[in-house]
């Protein structure tokens, strides 16, 4: 995280919730603003702080940015779509 907000570039990412996570948070998506540089983990922390139901989400959920799975230390950019994915159960 930047040392001061003066040098930080604000970014807005679209966060999407699916399946059980959407039920817990009570919504399927949200716009989250945060200063850059920021990681997916920062987005998760902000979501867990900002939305009451989101406190029930795991601190380290599976995540994707722009349709690809990423680790929580991946950087996010303005306009990214960040998805928080419950344990995959396809097939």
């Amino acid at each position: 995280m930047p040392a001061t907000v003066d040098t930080a570039t604000p970014a807005t990412v679209r966060v999407r919730f699916f399946a059980r996570y959407a039920e817990l948070v009570g919504r399927s998506e949200a716009a989250v603003s945060l200063p850059l540089p920021a990681t997916v983990g920062d987005v998760v922390r902000r979501v867990r702080e900002d939305f009451p139901g989101a406190r029930a989400l795991p601190e380290r959920p599976l995540a994707a940015v722009n349709l690809k799975q990423v680790k929580l230390d991946a950087r996010v950019q303005d306009g990214d779509e960040v998805a928080l994915l419950p344990p995959i159960a396809g097939g």
């Binding site: 699916f18 399946a19 059980r20 994707a64 349709l67 998805a83 344990p87 995959i88 396809g90």
Partner: protein, 150 residues
């Protein structure tokens, strides 16, 4: 090699359509995997499973998964369809069809794709039970003696 417009469907899966997408005179071995909605001793009276997905990512991930498979088995042709929505017990939620000149490639490619689905493709399922309850399935937290289709 993908002829379909989408890897997802809300209707019953048609094997004939999938077979037509991959069959050819020089592919003498075709392997079909069907995953069907199960109600067994380890379930609790499942009547149906409600499937949901991150649909845009499913399309992208299936594209990457099939590209990976083509890299491993260049002579094989593989297609897949995943059904979403409420699927009754006994009906197919996923079908994978792999056709290749010889059976070993077809079996291996088919197995590779279903294992990739289990790890990579963002689909979720909620069991609808006979007692009226609804339970999200978490394969990572629920050991099952039937790993072939969890």
């Amino acid at each position: 090699m993908r002829n379909a417009e989408s890897f997802l469907t809300r209707a019953a899966i048609s094997l004939d359509v999938l077979l037509a997408e991959v069959s050819a005179p020089d592919r003498g071995g075709t392997c079909v995997f069907l995953g069907t909605v199960r109600d067994g001793p380890d379930e609790h009276g499942v009547t149906a499973i409600e499937y949901s997905a991150y649909e845009e990512m499913v399309e992208a991930e299936f594209g990457r998964l099939l590209a990976d498979a083509r890299g491993r088995w260049p002579e094989a042709r593989i297609t897949v369809r995943h059904r979403l929505g409420s699927i009754p017990v006994g009906e197919a939620s996923i079908a994978i069809v792999a056709a290749a000149p010889h059976r070993a490639q077809a079996f291996e490619a088919c197995r590779y794709v279903i294992e990739g689905v289990k790890q990579r493709v963002p689909v979720w399922k909620k069991e609808l039970r006979v007692d009226g309850s609804e339970v999200w399935v978490d394969p990572s937290g629920r050991p099952t003696p039937h790993p072939a289709h969890g």
